[in-house]
């Protein structure tokens, strides 16, 4: 049977654009059909904006690659109409075990908070993730939405202009040109777009190599995340075992810096290592092996005129904490509604600059967290190792040391504190829903809150009066009225009210809070809408 990553999912097809006498203009072009590029394109298309995705390949990602998808990205995928197949297929886990040397030092349970539609995390191979996104693209095409994926279309030159970009594209049938009002570059850590535009990408290189392997086995290991520091089968290094769907296990083995990648990757060298780890008598089949090194870095700016960078093309982190694909999805979640408003003339072009401000802030938070994990997992000095080992030794005996063990702080969405789109917090409410925060989910009488938010501005009232619709300078805002009388789980009160008896929230199309007050105030909320759409400065 062919593996899904061996089948062309979007094979090359001749496009009418290739026969046009002059370059055809598109609204948005996306470079890269990975998780981030596809999410951007789906978001645009389902809101009626024409988008063409260009990819130099024609298949989904080879090997499992990004495997851990967090709650917030799953919520974003729900808004994009493709969260359910991911959750149905994905593996859910809550228990993790930490080993040091030959001992299990402790076990933890993530104990996810109740009252959310989506789990804290699922494990899912990137090839399934991309396949479900492509399925969603096909669904949108069947509905007549303006979206195309062009496989084996490699962008070879980019011309930038004040109000559009020109793209030269190489195909198996020769090259052709198109134009686009906007370009979103989602072409990965080695982004050719970034190189073609001569843009910077600075940061810290970690001198280490990791071997990642997908192994198929029928072992009865429980569905848990196991992390080893300095195990007997990989002395002085670390190891990770994680379960994926279809009996595929993901193994990450730290190899150190001074190795020959090609030699280490050979099955005759990989298999003995895995046997030491899994046990001599465990039957397994090696599906995929790769060796990677990583860097923590970002572009200085994610917007360059009409070219926008998202995902690994804009920022790269270490894999600890699953902040790569997860943060890339948050990039496009942040970007697409702004692009739509600007394209529709409902907001000034400067609104796009807030994408740069907010997501650079997000990238910095992710880089900080993943750098700290990396420093714990791979100590870079004797003293660093001394404290790391002290933490691990203490964690076996005393609870206090366990929060210091850092094998990856699992990805949580960032709050856009200090964003120019936020209005000052006027509610004595919970920290987690202050302006800039992503809305936490709440179980309602008829489903979940987040399914009712998104794609448009919402005025969320909790035991407060407000008009059902307001329109401010072309921006329509719709009210959703909730009451504590229906809040049997107390989740609404705890997550949105705190000490207050009532609240009114202005919520952005990406489900982030823009403003909140105890009561509705016509002029203040109109100001907040203007502010959230880039029309009013501080």
């Amino acid at each position: 049977m062919n593996k899904i990553f061996e089948v062309p999912l979007y094979p090359y097809e001749h496009s009418e654009d290739q026969d046009a006498p002059s370059p055809v203009r598109h609204q948005v072009a996306v470079i890269g059909a990975g998780p981030v590029g596809l999410a951007a394109a789906i978001d645009l298309a389902q809101q009626g904006i024409g988008v063409v995705v260009l990819d130099d390949n024609d298949k989904v990602s080879f090997g499992s690659r990004a495997i851990c998808f967090a709650k917030r990205p799953l919520e974003i995928l729900d808004r994009l109409g493709c969260g359910q197949p991911m959750v149905d297929k994905g593996v859910q886990w809550n228990v993790g075990k930490v080993f040091f040397d030959e001992r299990e030092v402790y076990e933890f349970n993530l104990l996810p908070e109740e009252g959310h539609r989506r789990p804290a995390f699922i494990n899912l191979q990137q090839y399934y993730f991309e396949q479900y996104l492509v399925d969603r693209v096909r669904e949108l095409q069947a509905e007549g939405k303006p979206i195309e994926i062009r496989g084996r279309n490699k962008v070879s030159a980019i011309g930038t202009h004040p109000d559009h970009v020109t793209l030269e594209i190489d195909t198996p049938e020769g090259s052709y040109n198109i134009e686009a009002d906007w370009l979103i570059a989602c072409d990965g850590a080695a982004s050719p777009t970034r190189s073609m535009l001569g843009l910077d990408f600075v940061g810290r290189v970690f001198e280490d190599n990791f071997l990642i392997a997908d192994v198929i086995m029928e072992a009865d290991f429980p569905t848990e995340r196991w992390f080893w520091f300095d195990p007997p089968f990989n002395r002085g290094q670390s190891a990770l075992l994680h379960k994926q769907p279809d009996g595929v296990w993901r193994i990450d083995l730290q190899l150190g810096w001074d190795i020959d990648k090609e030699i280490e990757k050979r099955p005759e060298n990989v298999i003995p290592r895995l046997k030491q780890m899994l046990g001599e008598d465990v039957e397994f089949e090696l599906e995929w092996v790769s060796i990677y090194t990583f860097q923590c870095r970002r572009m200085e700016h994610f917007r360059h005129g009409r070219v926008l960078f998202a995902g690994d093309a804009a920022h790269q982190v270490s894999p600890f904490g699953a902040r790569g694909a997860n943060s890339g999805l948050q990039d496009t979640d942040n970007l697409v509604w702004k692009l739509k408003m600007v394209m529709e003339g409902k907001a000034p072009e400067s609104l796009i600059d807030s994408y740069d401000v907010e997501r650079v802030h997000g990238a910095d938070e992710n880089i900080l967290n993943s750098t700290r994990s990396t420093d714990f997992i791979t100590p870079k000095s004797l003293t660093s190792r001394l404290f790391r080992d002290a933490v691990l030794d203490l964690s076996e005996h005393y609870e206090f040391a366990r929060p210091l063990v850092n094998s990856g702080r699992l990805s949580v969405p960032c709050t856009y504190d200090e964003s120019p789109l936020n209005s000052a917090d006027a509610l004595d409410g919970p920290e987690r829903t202050r302006p800039g925060s992503p809305c936490p989910d709440v179980p309602l009488k008829d489903g979940f809150l987040l399914d009712k938010l998104g794609d448009r501005f919402i005025l969320l009232t909790i035991d407060a009066e407000a008009p059902d619709h307001i329109e401010e300078d072309g921006v329509a805002v719709e009210r959703i009225a909730l009451t504590l009388k229906d809040d049997s789980t107390q989740a609404l009160r705890k997550r949105y009210l705190g000490e207050s008896d009532s609240a009114v929230y202005l919520i952005r199309p990406d489900q982030h809070v823009a403003a909140r007050r105890p009561r509705y105030d016509e002029s203040l909320f109109r100001a907040a809408i203007r502010r959230a759409t880039g029309k009013e400065a501080h």
Binding site: L394, Y398, F400, A401
Partner: protein, 70 residues
Amino acid sequence: MSDDLILSPNIDGADDFYADLLATHEGLSKEESDALNARLILILANHIGKRAILTQALAKAALNPGEDPS
């Protein structure tokens, strides 16, 4: 507990404490002693808990020349 690091004498029976500290290290190799010290720092830091105090302690322990000794 105030948010100021105590830098005046504060240990009951300071000589006894000092002797206990050395006794705990007795017979240990340099490597074992270093590990013990690291564990001790973490245990004491957790007991103190307050970030403001810990931040001052880290700065004072660095013994930066020229800094106000107060």
